[in-house]
């Protein structure tokens, strides 16, 4: 790899990192797993003046469930950590479904969840998963920290709402209030491929009724898409075939796919509908006693 000339720093503390970030402002880039940034450097699509390698900040390498039931994911939590985590199955089903489908095993060893959110690739899997789960991102800089909803954090294709000098330190998923069900269905051409279509579904139920619903779409628009109308169509409903069909249709309507070598727009829209239907039809709700 022959990137443009750049400075490399490996801070030993967050404060040190903030100082460098503040000094360089927009010309600084955080290096996390490097699985998106390094290819961009190689292709010279990115030419930062300085790379701030946060891999030494081992305090950020965590994910944990809080006593209130929320899940916190530090900036150095790798995809593989979630793939292998015992915390996820059952309690965070959408997360558990997505983790083994992100990229390939080699990329999962290095890539981070927070890095993926920061990268804001419309084909990135984590953004839609966290969007469907109503997730948040904690960002920090020399002047303090703030919490941003994922919906407001991932603002555009390859654009996040970090201010110059800020680092994302944590992502989080709020506690489920009902019984959680979730899926991540991904159509890929090959293992390690970005999604042709990805659909994240996260619902919570109370009895046989849906109390919360999150549906977000990967790869079918210029941004990660939250299918708000489809979500609303589920609230207060039971998982009956007509309800499912309506939500699936609304989700497909929310997609804004483009025809390309991965498939036609029409096809991608059809797959969104199929996946939403398949996901919602797969839940066997625990019947309240």
């Amino acid at each position: 790899m022959y990137p443009p000339r750049l400075r490399y720093v490996a801070p030993k503390s967050l404060d040190e990192a903030f100082a460098v970030m503040a000094e360089y402002g927009d010309d600084a880039k955080v290096l996390a797993g490097g699985q998106s940034l390094v290819p961009m450097l190689k292709l010279r699509f990115a030419s930062p003046a300085v790379l701030v390698d946060i891999n030494g900040l081992s305090d950020l390498a965590y994910h944990r469930a809080e006593s209130d039931g929320s899940l916190r994911i530090g900036a150095l939590c790798r995809h593989v950590d979630l793939e292998r985590s015992a915390l996820l199955p059952g309690r965070y089903p959408t997360m558990a479904a997505a983790a083994p489908q992100v990229a390939d095993p080699i990329v999962r060893n290095r890539g981070t969840v927070v890095g993926s959110l920061c990268h804001a690739d419309p084909q990135g899997d984590w953004a839609s998963v966290l969007l469907a789960l109503n997730g948040q991102v904690v960002v920090a800089g020399k002047d303090g920290r703030r919490t941003i909803s994922v919906a407001d954090f991932v603002v555009g294709p390859f654009q996040n709402s970090l201010a110059a000098g800020e680092i994302a330190v944590e992502a989080s998923v709020p506690a489920a209030k009902g019984t959680p069900y979730g899926s991540y269905l991904k159509l890929e051409r090959r293992v390690g491929d970005f999604a042709t279509v990805g659909v994240a579904v996260a619902i919570e139920t109370s009895g046989l009724q849906i109390s919360r619903a999150g549906i977000a779409l990967t790869g079918v628009g210029p941004n990660t898409i939250q299918a708000i109308e489809a979500e609303q169509a589920l609230i207060g409903q039971a998982l009956e075939p007509d309800v499912i069909a309506r939500a699936a249709g609304l989700a497909a309507g929310a997609a804004r796919p483009r025809s390309d070598h991965r498939g036609s727009a029409e096809y991608k829209r059809h797959v969104v509908e199929t996946f939403v239907r398949r996901a919602l039809s797969s839940y066997r709700l625990a019947v309240p006693a």
Binding site: Y2, P4, R5, L43, R44, D104, L187, R189, R190, V191, G192, D193, F194, T196, D260, H261, R262, G263, S264, Y267, K268, H270, V271, T274
Partner: protein
């Protein structure tokens, strides 16, 4: 008396001996082009065109020259001063080394920089300012051959259209007559998409011109070092004995490393101009966007059929998309490779083929990628056509093949296009495959599944292909006949070094050639070292591609070992004090006829060759052999795949794959099986996911490994391998080529399986790769799906 040697134990024929080259490869101790560092070496980087077709208005290199550490900025204009802006190709065309007048494909070489390190070279390339005037872009032959298409090769005197060649073979009148008598005519049109050999290691070279001695040494990634030496002698006007081409360990080739690329030429020119060694290492992007690809053929064919299923005649037309230059490395006599080997396994009385090449604004190439000169398209097309014809007649596809496959007692025979097929047990292979997959059971299962809305499919591909170019009557490249060679030197202690004119790039020659020597001489394979790739030491040969190494160079190994054995026999007679006529041979040992205890080993003979030769005998035990094969070798294969198609998403999964290969005598069965599995994996990739396509502006989609998909162990199905052995009648040890069989014959098995699953929809063809969205579209519309690159609609 000594115990007779166990041939398998000493690593002879039939031994699945571990690959000796792996010891260094898996330990990271190989020596690839990028491992090479010469004192004072400089680094070269190429600036490529962002546009597919544009006139060059100006090139400003001043900012690049101004960067410290830049030693040379080379443009087409400067190359032209040395008569090197253009070079001849191996298909008697010309190709731009560095563009002077216009760029003709995206990724074309426009300028290059030689600098102290690769970072500087890259920075300097970015500092070169090129002003282009965009021209209309042509991305497929339909567009290219249209009457008012813009002229791509306006550099060529007398060229008034975009036709790059025309070719024809067969009997037109006879074919027309047969069609007139047919009960039914089946027709199929398809496009075999462009694919890329994509070796892990890209191309590269280190050119080292020594002004004091006048000698040019080029270390380079080439599958054919001697052809390159001849080409460099002609292009660079250097005397051939002052050129040394060294091909080090190669990280794969698959045909990608046969042609001469501009990068090689520029590194040579760079070294001559700077007086320093110059290294050029291509990156993945450069490799995918500019170097030799495979296929990109448009086929339209008809079969004349009798009601009972007998094929009466075949005719087809092929258009090839050659890209901007006709740069294929292929036998000179044939403009579209060996595409006329199509239908060679079927007993068809008559046929006619026409073919045409089209220039387009795409990277040049066509024949590369694990293929004996376009037989991949020929066999794919043949087997797709066979399936379509069987379906048209409402006949079982296996039965249709049985009716038409040549019978084992029907050899030798001429195909309608002039090939001589010499042996085979086609029916036996087919039956073995059908039994292995459980054909009748599967058909029942398929019918049951269909009644429950599930779509299962089974696809068969049977084919024989011509491997091992060539024989000198018909096959040459630039006039040089396609023989090959081996040189064997046995040292006093009975150890030996073998060199050949081939060049291994993953096939395992270092292992296999030693086994042939072992078979012929009884020397343990471990005692034979194999060296290839250095034109100063290796005998002249045509290199490795088209599955030709074992058929040609491997035969030369046998022949040279036999020459050595003949001399050893004289030495044995001398040592045993009997006349040569009284000497018998068993593996590794000569003995006196009727007195088996009195004998000498081959090692004892070797020692005598240096220490105790008879009066008048030349010392030493070595020889060489140039082998000109009497015919091609004709391996046969039957591949059968079963699939399930998800009609809702168009996704198809492979259930099972059965492969029956008859490649004659297997020298190292493990290596043969590895070649077959590798070929099947590639076949699956081509059928399922892999293609390089272009948008209407000529931008290549897939000049990276995110979009150009190589299959991984995860999705590649498992393969069940079987064998039949029909020894090649003319090869010294009965071996045939095999390296490409599965990649050639495999794709049709997968595609036929998917088409079989869709048979009731009326869809006859989905172009490869059979992507889920294409399957879905076919099911939705009931119409064929074309994969032809789209053209601009404005």
């Amino acid at each position: 008396m000594s115990q007779a040697l166990d041939e398998v134990k000493i690593g002879g024929l039939g031994s699945s001996r571990q690959r000796v080259e792996d010891a260094r490869f898996i330990r990271g101790r190989g020596n690839y082009i990028d491992d090479l560092k010469l004192p004072g070496m400089l680094h070269m980087e190429i600036l490529r065109s962002p546009l597919a077709h544009a006139r060059i208005i100006s090139i400003d290199t001043s900012a690049a020259w101004a960067i410290p550490g830049v030693r040379l900025v080379l443009t087409g204009e400067m190359a032209a001063q040395r008569n090197l802006a253009w070079m001849p190709t191996l298909s008697y065309d010309t190709q731009a080394v560095l563009a002077t007048d216009k760029v003709r494909f995206q990724g074309q070489e426009v300028a290059c920089v030689v600098a102290d390190d690769p970072y500087i070279a890259k920075d300097a390339c970015e500092a070169i300012v090129v002003e282009y005037e965009p021209l209309p872009v042509i991305v497929n032959p339909i567009q290219s051959l249209a009457p008012d298409a813009p002229l791509i090769r306006d550099d060529k005197e007398g060229q008034t259209d975009n036709v790059c060649y025309r070719w024809e073979v067969g009997d037109k009148q006879g074919t027309d007559r047969a069609f007139a008598q047919a009960d039914h005519i089946s027709r199929l049109k398809l496009h075999y998409p462009r694919s890329h050999p994509s070796p892990i290691e890209c191309c590269g070279s280190v050119a080292d011109y020594n002004a004091a001695t006048g000698k040019l040494t080029v270390y380079m990634t080439t599958q054919a070092p001697h052809i390159i030496r001849a080409a460099v002698a002609l292009v660079a006007e250097l005397p051939e004995h002052m050129i040394r081409i060294v091909s080090p360990d190669l990280g794969g080739g698959f045909g990608n490393k046969v042609p001469v690329y501009p990068g090689y030429v520029c590194s040579i020119l760079g070294s001559i101009l700077t007086g320093k060694p110059v290294k050029w290492i291509e990156d993945n992007f450069g490799n995918l966007i500019s170097t030799g690809f495979g296929r990109d053929m448009y086929l339209d064919s008809e079969l004349a059929l009798r009601k009972d299923g007998k094929i009466l005649a075949v005719r087809f037309h092929a258009d090839t998309d050659q890209g901007a230059f006709f740069s294929d490395a292929q036998p000179s006599k044939f403009k579209i490779g060996l595409v006329h080997s199509a239908f060679a396994c079927y007993d068809i009385p008559v046929g006619h083929i026409t073919a045409r090449g089209a220039y387009t604004n795409k990277a040049p190439g066509g024949v590369a990628y694990r293929c004996s000169f376009r037989v991949t398209e020929a066999m794919f097309f043949q087997e797709r056509m066979i399936q379509a014809a069987a379906a048209d007649l409402g006949m079982d596809q296996a039965q249709f093949r049985r009716i038409n496959l040549r019978r084992a007692d029907d050899f030798p025979a001429r195909t309608p296009f002039g090939f001589l097929v010499d042996s085979g047990q086609y029916h036996k292979c087919l039956q073995l495959g059908l039994d292995a997959i459980g054909y009748e059971d599967f058909k029942r299962e398929q019918a049951q599944a269909r009644s429950r809305g599930r779509r299962l499919g089974i696809g068969i591909s049977t084919m024989t292909e011509p491997l091992g170019a060539g024989n000198s009557r018909e096959y040459d490249i630039l006039g040089i006949k396609m023989f090959d060679s081996a040189e064997l030197r046995v040292h006093p202690t009975g150890k030996a070094i073998l060199r050949t004119g081939a060049k291994t790039q993953g096939q395992g020659h270092e292992t296999t050639w030693a086994q042939i020597v072992s078979h012929e001489l009884g020397i343990p394979a471990d005692d034979v070292i194999v060296e290839e790739g250095d034109t100063d030491t290796a005998p002249f040969g045509m290199g490795t591609y088209a599955s030709r190494s074992t058929p040609v160079a491997g035969a030369a190994v046998s022949m040279v070992a036999r020459k050595v054995r003949a001399k050893a026999r004289k030495l044995a007679a001398h040592l045993l004090e009997v006349s040569e006529e009284d000497i018998e041979w068993e593996l590794g040992r000569f003995y006196v006829r009727g007195a088996a205890r009195r004998g000498v080993t081959i090692q004892e003979c070797a020692m005598a060759a240096y220490t105790n030769m008879p009066d008048g005998m030349e010392p030493g035990l070595e020889n060489n052999a140039y082998y000109d094969p009497p015919n091609l070798t004709w391996p046969f294969a039957c591949y059968i795949a079963t699939v399930e198609v998800d009609p809702e998403t168009g996704v198809w999964d492979v259930l099972r794959v059965v492969a029956v290969d008859d490649c004659g005598v297997r020298i190292n069965p493990m290596i043969v099986e590895g070649q077959i599995m590798g070929g099947l994996a590639e076949a699956y990739a081509m059928a399922n996911m892999q293609f390089m396509t272009y948008d209407a502006d000529g931008n290549m989609i897939g000049a990276n490994y995110i979009d150009y998909l190589l299959p991984t162990a995860w999705e590649t199905p498992g393969f069940e391998l079987h064998e039949v052995v029909t020894p090649c009648p003319h090869h010294p040890i009965g071996a045939k080529g095999v390296g490409e069989c599965a990649a050639v014959g495999g794709p049709a098995a997968f595609v036929n399986a998917v088409m079989n699953a869709l048979e009731d929809t009326g869809v006859r063809n989905i172009d490869m790769p059979v992507l889920p969205d294409r399957v879905w579209q076919a099911i939705q519309t009931g119409r064929d799906v074309s994969g032809v690159p789209p053209v601009r609609q404005d």
